[in-house]
Symmetry: D2
Subunit: 336 residues, 4 copies
């Protein structure tokens, strides 16, 4: 049984706690904390976990084997660094930190320990369909990859959603996914700005993000965050001899009123719920008996931040912006 | 240019005339007749065709190379026999005749001439999708056929539609299709009667027709004639190693309001319009320069009548009814 | 934490033990037994469970809250009755018992206790796609159901598979599923025998099973157990105004070599793995804190046995065989 | 009967002659010419058409009502101008002329006559699926269009195919299609260059063409001309509230060897054959009785040339290239 301490018991933290206490195997939540101590007390009380005054106390709790960070983004760095300092595995919800500099500090701290401790919450790598896609690609079914077409569509976004968030909150999933899919870093970003949807009032929506991988593969990502009809994640890899794409995944076909219809997910929960479960279950299994995490690393969190910054600048300037990363530490050379 | 005389200028006759005068190549309509002489005069006048007092006069007209019979079913026999007597090719809309005895008389009259003159209007054999299906079957892609699942669905039928018509008017298309698809006669029929739809008032709808081919292949045909959502023709052949089915054929995919939808045809015109065009065009091309028809033969029309009678009896009695056909004349041994 | 004792540690038992120890939440396996005591010792040893000499000892173990029966079919009755006698909830893999008389004895024993204790392992009710299908049906999207078309296809079956097993082992899943889907008992069965596949040597395969529900809905089930291409479960409900069907569920679309392909599952594990997980997880959750099972009941196991016997007789005789059930005890009136 | 003179009896000319003599209604080929007089004599002889020494003679032939130009591209201008001078309708295969200046001369010559005489062979506008797509867009099913994703894939191209031809020969179909689809001119072009496929040897393939419509709609077009698996034309319009896309159009679904497959067309003939038939048939019907052509106009041919030139420059420079068109003459204001 892996004993996990959860820092941050807001919406996402509570969802992970629900997952670890009622869905997954081999894991217990033994300690919690939150900036709002009343919430922490309430959530912790319901599951019989220790309630601590700070995230650092959660890390320090001897009844905590591993830490899960779901607090407000700007606090991620301090808690992840605390866990590294304590030599405890830490799962950090995305983003790893809110600046690329902070991400780099985490990379350096982890590298200094000589082994992986950090995993970042990019859950697409755990989605059944993306894994099938990668498997088809790696099996050579379509030859070497040359391009990828993606779409990331949300039915709607809240009113506080700003246009940069289409990069930092929305496209960041594709940014991580393509790095993992192709095993290549992203070399440049560019953002094209189409006619504006009236669904988002002042928001510039949609956008067309274009990423160049280090080996020349080009990825285009349609970002539409107020498209009303549902949540739709699409991806098609164009290879030398064919293409491989995410399928329809539809469990139901209804023929009525002049058409054949299949349902589209309403939101990301419906589409990626299973991926979240698998993500945390695999993390728990990997850590069982003192193992190391195998999922997205601190380097992946850092690289996502650097690419995201470049894409935001590309959106601001209208120009192609090159991405420059330092040499990848040996620790991260193994794919994970 | 093939000069065609059309007997019967009602809805179907006018549609064939439109086809031969504005869609197809190498054909002209030179004479018409109808039981309602005013309609014949009107239709003939518009296209500059001779208007005759009787179908026999159309057959006899020296400016008529071939005859197309679209008159009321009970008159088919006399006009087809007249064409055979005159040695002129005749295309007869289904049914070939309204009794199996009448069909047999036509078979005998044609057989006596020593060559094929008659083609019957079973147009599914000319449908692109059914042809692809047969091609996949014949290529051995799925191994030997063992079963076939069919559905024949109409959005609605007129109030004069009686339950036997589900066999004689609706299922008769599948009856001909499976004989052609498998190159086998039908050996027995059975009809199961499910719970009744309230859409058809007193009509027993749907039905489940089960046909046994001579070699043991079993075909089930769902007949639903008031299913509201559209016109839908389905067919899946189950072979030893796989299955082959009619595809979705959808030219359009719309994502809106929470679903991915493809349109379903409203009626048979939309689904089979091209098949009607090809049916008549191939007939015209086959007859060009004195050739013989290659499409569904008088024997096919006769066999359909015999099976149809058996299925109607099966519907009446609830029992399995065997189908008995005389030996097929040599004239019809060549598939066509 | 629900402590479960597992009777029978063969292939299925081991799979359930793996599920309860490494996949599911809130459950531990505390005791095991098997007719082969060496296997029991091995399996129990690996997970630290008590190893008992008999299933009755597992039931009697005070460290066992609930029992899971995965032993050889003919022994199900005695272990289920033992659990009922001990007042412990028992999950029994299908079949509930190997004769309808034995099933009825279980029903009577459970009924005498005044509350549900037994759940039977019909896992299709827990499949995401079937649940969506039932939801669409219950929502009235297609009007009242009139027919259902099913196919149950296996790539291959072992050489000991006999033709009756197409009913008792294969179709039994559809038998349970349609009772649940329509909330109606099955009133009659009939089996049609098509041309035989050469893939199964002497085995009569495929079969066409036809079930009549008490309210007249007709269900046809194609049973093909050596169809080579993969494992394929199909289902389409025909309603008054439309149809609802299991979707394609495909996570991947590959375009290569002249075609667009989606993968078909290789076997039932791939197709229904998640349903097994959900089945046991929901059972565990339902029992937590002393609750009652909500899944397929002893009555469902009994009804499946009665229908299965009727279908086997229908296969033997070629006739329609009516199904007669006694009045359903009040205990089972609530759906579950 | 429309009497057509065909200038150029090479592969495409012969195909159109076959179409007009054996497929379409209301048209006859009465005169031909070719730079290779032997071919002209052979083709003309077979169909009983007059064989002329020059295209100008075809135009001048009083037995010619309308002219169809299928000669070598650089000769298009002179024959189209000759037809305009003679006041005869002329259908010109694409390109209208090989330079935008030549196209403009044709526009000016036609405009001077005060009525439309010229139609250019952009046949996608006649494709059933594109028409359904436009109908869904115009019906407002998805709200205002914001983006369009296209792919134009060929299994292979001949060795003489140069990278500019990906624009001038391949993408030109999309260039015309989006102008028609959105009823807007193209304002700018840009070409991104992904990793190169090894299937095309030295050829830079694929390319990603990006077009900006005058109202801000952005269109991306993947151009892959050696993708081996088949000919595949894709298009999805992203609207404010949903998307509309070309459907799968598949007539056949085969389940075998572990997958569900639908066939992909081998080449453009298979995909667009019907569109060619409809294109010429509608032209024939429009001209019947002295009518004007309604299909793609000389202005469309000119605009395609201007955009094509801009895209070629964009490919050469790597930059965004703006497209500037003079004011559209009133003659072309009506959509057609």
């Amino acid at each position: 049984m892996l004993n996990v301490g959860v820092i941050g018991t807001g919406m996402i933290g509570q969802d992970h706690i629900r997952r670890m206490t009622t869905v997954l195997s081999g894991v217990a939540v033994t300690a919690v904390s939150d900036v709002d101590s009343a919430i922490a007390a309430d959530v912790g009380g319901r599951i019989g976990a220790a309630v601590h005054a700070s995230g650092e106390d959660v890390v320090a709790d001897p009844a905590v084997d591993a830490v899960l960070v779901c607090s407000w983004g700007p606090t991620h760095e301090q808690y992840v660094l605390a866990a590294i300092a304590a030599g405890k595995p830490v799962f950090c919800e995305k983003p790893l930190a809110t600046t690329q500099e902070a991400c780099l500090r985490i990379v350096e701290a982890e590298t200094a320990t000589g082994g992986r401790l950090v995993q970042v919450g990019y859950m697409r790598r755990f989605d059944f369909a993306y894994r099938q896609l990668k498997q088809a690609l790696d099996a050579g079914d379509i030859g070497a990859p040359l391009m990828m077409h993606c779409a990331h569509r949300n039915a709607s976004v809240p009113s506080f959603y700003q246009k940069e968030m289409a990069i930092t909150d929305t496209a960041v999933h594709e940014i991580d996914m393509v790095r993992w899919m192709f095993g290549e870093e992203i070399a440049a970003a560019r953002v094209l700005v189409p006619k504006k949807s009236r669904n988002g009032n002042d928001l510039q929506d949609p956008l067309l993000l274009i990423l160049e991988m280090a080996d020349g593969v080009i990825v285009d990502v349609e970002l539409s965050v107020n498209i009303r009809y549902g949540y739709d994640i699409r991806g098609e890899i164009v290879g030398e001899n064919g293409t491989a794409a995410l399928g329809s995944l539809s469990p139901l076909e209804v023929r009525s009123s002049g058409r054949l219809s299949t349902p589209v997910p309403a939101d990301w929960r419906e589409r990626f719920l299973a991926a979240y479960d698998i993500e945390i279950q695999e993390w728990v299994h990997a850590l069982a008996g003192g193992g190391r995490p195998l999922g997205p690393s601190a380097w992946d969190g850092y690289a996502a931040a650097v690419v995201s910054d470049a894409a935001v600048e590309a959106l601001r300037t209208g120009e192609r912006v090159a991405v420059t990363l330092p040499e990848k530490p040996k620790l991260y050379e193994v794919l994970g």
